[in-house]
């Protein structure tokens, strides 16, 4: 059987690019858990903001498989090295993405507005001093400013602009990011949400949240506060962005 995720031995690397770690694996596992829905969703355009090594967007392309030859992938990163590494990783797996070195989706926002059917984001979520945010090297993979929210809060309105009417957003968050407040913010924009996967360790408690446009936002309001049902809670020895930050 063909592999449904990128193979680590085929993932390129670079000293200034964040290697796939448990947060990347958690996001891919969440996408795998939702794979049947994704295939049925028949996306035309998928996009990753902050593609890093390319592990996630390559995995998404592979799990959508041959059935998705009508689907095209866009990926961006503020780190030019990361975009180069993503190109190599995609090529090593026989995949292709439209790659742009840019801040979030700057330059694509106007023309790609309302066109993205699936967006995946593993943002820099680690709480750091504000001055560390927006650096061009590997720190851009983790430095999230106050509560780790500085970059997330910039991405959310962009996602809202880019997502199509049937668009889905998968976002990696940390408990410190206050995921329920993120859900609430998105609810105000008309999105329902569900935690697709939760993964806890000594270092980090990750939530992979899926957002989709939903007209019936009022009823959903309660869900967000009472804590949405989580499927697939896994505890493991965790090596994520906090560890990378310490060693980076």
């Amino acid at each position: 059987m063909l592999s449904r995720t990128a193979q680590i031995r085929l993932v390129s690397s670079h000293p200034e690019v964040y290697d796939p770690c448990d947060d990347s694996f958690a996001l891919v596992d969440a996408l795998l858990a939702d794979r049947a829905n994704l295939v049925e969703h028949c996306p035309s355009i998928c996009m990753e903001v902050g593609c890093g090594s390319g592990y996630v967007i390559t995995s998404l392309a592979l799990m959508l498989g041959k059935d998705s030859s009508g689907c095209h992938f866009f990926a961006t990163d503020i780190n030019a090295h990361a975009v180069g590494v993503t190109r190599k990783t995609m090529e090593a797996h026989g995949c292709h993405a439209e790659l742009v070195t840019t801040d979030i989706a700057s330059g694509l926002e106007t023309r790609l507005a309302g066109s993205v059917d699936v967006m995946v984001v593993n943002p820099p979520y680690v709480p750091t001093p504000e001055y560390e945010v927006g650096q061009f090297g590997i720190a851009s993979a983790w430095a999230g400013g106050e509560n780790g929210r500085s970059v997330i809060d910039k991405i959310l309105p962009v996602a809202d602009k880019l997502l199509s009417d049937k668009g889905w957003l998968y976002l990696v968050t940390l408990t410190a990011n206050n995921p329920s407040e993120i859900c609430l913010q998105m609810r105000k924009k008309g999105y329902a949400s569900r935690i697709v996967l939760q993964r806890s360790t000594e270092e980090e408690n990750l939530h992979i949240i899926k957002f989709w446009r939903d007209l019936d936002t009022q009823l959903e309001f309660l869900d967000c506060h009472s804590g949405v049902m989580a499927i697939g809670v896994v505890t493991s020895v965790f090596k994520g962005k906090r560890v990378a930050q310490k060693h980076g």
Binding site: S44, G70, A80, G84, L99, V100, D103, T110
Partner: protein, 122 residues
């Protein structure tokens, strides 16, 4: 960089009101075969700025696209093949994208456009 990407990019410099389409400076073009998928082309047709695609493909040396297009053309296999080739198979490997308003160049290296702005452009 495929012309699909070019068709989705505009100049992001602060204050620029007419940032689309970006002009193309060609240093190196490569062609790569891509599986033909009618559904994708039909889905994308409405989102593509045709004139920009025609001009971009000419700059890249491909002159087969009709000047104007309408959705009825999607019934023609010949049209779809040309559309497919221009949109997905022509890659700008090296060169630059140029803001039509300011002339600012965004480099394209190894097929990847760099849209990062300087501090005074944000």
């Amino acid at each position: 960089m495929r012309l699909l990407t070019h068709n989705m990019l505009s100049s992001n410099i602060k204050g620029v009101t007419n940032g689309f389409p970006l002009l193309i400076e060609v240093e190196k073009v490569v062609e790569k075969q891509v599986d033909f998928n009618e559904d994708f082309l039909r889905n994308m047709f409405a989102k593509i700025e045709w004139k920009a695609l025609v001009e971009a493909s000419r700059t890249m040396g491909y002159t087969e696209l009709p000047e104007n297009s309408e959705s009825s053309m999607l019934n023609s296999d010949e049209f779809l093949r040309k559309f497919h080739h221009a949109l997905l198979e022509l890659h700008l490997e090296e060169g630059a994208l140029v803001c039509p308003e300011t002339g600012r160049k965004f480099p394209v290296n190894k097929g990847i456009p760099n849209m990062l702005l300087h501090e005074d452009e944000v």
